[in-house]
Structure formats: structure tokens, C-alpha cells
């Protein structure tokens, strides 16, 4: 698989993301935000974490207007797979490729810790190696991860199985971490080819670092 990893001024998880996909046997290529096209024959675009444009105005609000995002939008509209991690999730919601928005955490803290997540739907190209109801342990590190969507939007998400993950305890029961609507940690679009999550699967690849659950998440793309 060939993976394009985007890089904006302020992105800081691009090398971890490359490392993760290369560890899984894929080739990766960094793509600068000023590029107007994506590399040919790619199988996945990853918008990695960080603080693009210093989080000025709103997290992800400036990055979404980068030249490369036009190419990403048409790639996604043609059915190409896109994954946004943390700041990447914020950029994809700002770009309108994913529903909802990410607000400041309710407690106003930057939350950085290992967090249990419950898999809500695995019937998609991303989480197909996970079981519905399974609990994964993945690090989170964000200040603006408080997922908001209005009632009508939430009903659509639920009905169409677009909720991917919820913050949970070790039994899979939802817990309040940052104030997200029903503890949502990740969602996908209606066509299930664009995925976004606040947790960092690329930081959970080695037992010595506390969890290997990220491998199973990212492996989903091989199978799909």
C-alpha cells in the first residue's frame, strides 16, 4: 500500500505516522501543503496530528484552505480513503469532509494520557480488524477534542453506523474525557471512506511504549 502523509506548517506527527505505516510494510510519502496534487497511485491519505498554523483562529481552520486540501477533497469525493488523526480530524471537520466540529475540552486542559476506547462500529475500511464492543488502549493528546454535533446530525451518525469510537472505561462503558457528545472519539463520513479520530494509533505500536493496539487499527486499511 502507498500512503501519502500531509505536512502543514506546525504538523508534528508526520514522522511517527510514516514510521507506523512503514512498520506495517507500506511505502509512505510526505506531501507538502503547497502541493496542488497528490502522488499518483496512492491507496490512503493521512492527515497527521500537530498544530497546523499554530491552531490560530480555530484548530484546522487555516490548514483546510491549503492548496493540497483541494486535491484531498476531490480524492475523497472520488471515493479515496482519507484518515485524519487529532489535528487531522480537526482539519477534516473544518473542510466539511467529516460532520460535526471539535471544540475546546470542557475542562480547558490539554489532556495527554493513555485512554481506553470502545469500538462502536467496525464495519468499515478502518476498524475492520477490531471487534465491535472491543476496548482498545490508545494515547490521546489534545486541547480541542470536544466533539460537537447537533441532534439531527447525531441521529444520522448513529443510524448510518458512522460513530467509530467512544472514550470508555476498561469494560467499554462510555466515560466523559473532554465533553464530547456521547463521548465520541472518532467518526467517519456517510460513504465510509473518510475517517477521523482524536486518539493517536501511531503512538501505540510497541509494548514498551504501553500499547500495541494501534497496529490493529491501522492494519484495517491493508485488508480493505
Amino acid at each position: 500500500m502507498k500512503v501519502a502523509v500531509l505536512r502543514f506548517p506546525g504538523t508534528n506527527c508526520e514522522f511517527d505516522t510514516q514510521y507506523a505505516f512503514e512498520k506495517l510494510g507500506h511505502t509512505t510519502q510526505l506531501v507538502w501543503h503547497e502541493d496542488e496534487t497528490l502522488p499518483k497511485d496512492i491507496d490512503l491519505v493521512v492527515v497527521p496530528g500537530g498544530f497546523s498554523y499554530g491552531d490560530y483562529l480555530r484548530s484546522g481552520s487555516i490548514a483546510r484552505f491549503s492548496p493540497v486540501m483541494k486535491a484531498v477533497t476531490s480524492y475523497a469525493n472520488d471515493g479515496g480513503k482519507v484518515l485524519g488523526i487529532c489535528n487531522g480530524f480537526q482539519i477534516l471537520t473544518e473542510a466539511g469532509l467529516l460532520p460535526g466540529a471539535l471544540k475546546r475540552n470542557n475542562n480547558l486542559h490539554f489532556i495527554s494520557k493513555h485512554q481506553n476506547l470502545c469500538v462502536i462500529n467496525s464495519n468499515n475500511a478502518f476498524l475492520n480488524q477490531c471487534e465491535k464492543g472491543e476496548v482498545l488502549n490508545i494515547p490521546i493528546a489534545h486541547a480541542d477534542g470536544n466533539y460537537y454535533i447537533d441532534d439531527a446530525g447525531f441521529k444520522k451518525l448513529e443510524a448510518n453506523e458512522q460513530i467509530l469510537l467512544r472514550y470508555s472505561d476498561s469494560d467499554g462503558k462510555p466515560v466523559v474525557v473532554n465533553g464530547s457528545v456521547t463521548s465520541i472519539a472518532g467518526v467517519c463520513n456517510e460513504n465510509k471512506n473518510v475517517f477521523g479520530l482524536m486518539p493517536h494509533p501511531e503512538r501505540a505500536l510497541e509494548a514498551i511504549l504501553g500499547s500495541v493496539d494501534g497496529i490493529r487499527m491501522l492494519k484495517g486499511f491493508d485488508a480493505s
Binding site: 483562529l57 481552520s61 471537520t93 473544518e94 460535526g100 466540529a101 471544540k103 475540552n105 447537533d150 465533553g179
Partner: protein, 79 residues
């Protein structure tokens, strides 16, 4: 011409910063404060003298960039 844009979280969307400031105001001993909301103000200098055109342009700036209308409302004052 100058445009002053105020952006606030929508009514019904919890404003954690406003809530924290409200708590701090209460703890300073001020009484009778029923709500505090925090937003941002964006001041834009425009070359045009055409108020209608300015309003239309600033509205487009708000809709595309300055506000995220999923969670935020905005007001525009032009003078």
C-alpha cells in the same frame, strides 16, 4: 471602511471558557452575574466605500473562514 466581526459559540453549545470565567467572577465576590460567554472579535479594514458590497464580502469571509457555523454564530458591524 472598517468591519467588526464578533464570533461566539451558538446558544445551547456549552462555552467552557465562559463557564470558567463565570466561576472566577463569582469567586471574586461579584454577585448577580447570570451568564458569561467568551468569543472573539476580528477587526477588518476594507478599501471599499460601498457598504453593501463590504457587508456581502465580510459575510462570505465569516461563512467560509472566520466562523465555524456548525458551532458558532457571528455578527457584523460596519462603519
Amino acid at each position: 471602511m472598517q468591519a467588526i466581526v464578533n464570533v461566539f459559540l451558538k446558544e445551547g453549545v456549552l462555552d467552557p471558557q465562559g463557564k470558567a470565567a463565570h466561576h472566577a467572577i463569582d469567586s471574586l465576590g461579584f454577585t448577580g452575574v447570570s451568564d458569561v460567554r467568551i468569543g472573539k472579535q476580528i477587526i477588518i479594514q476594507l478599501d471599499t466605500d460601498d457598504k453593501t458590497k463590504a457587508e456581502a464580502e465580510v459575510k462570505e469571509m465569516c461563512e467560509t473562514l472566520l466562523a465555524n457555523t456548525v458551532i458558532e454564530d457571528y455578527t457584523i458591524e460596519i462603519d
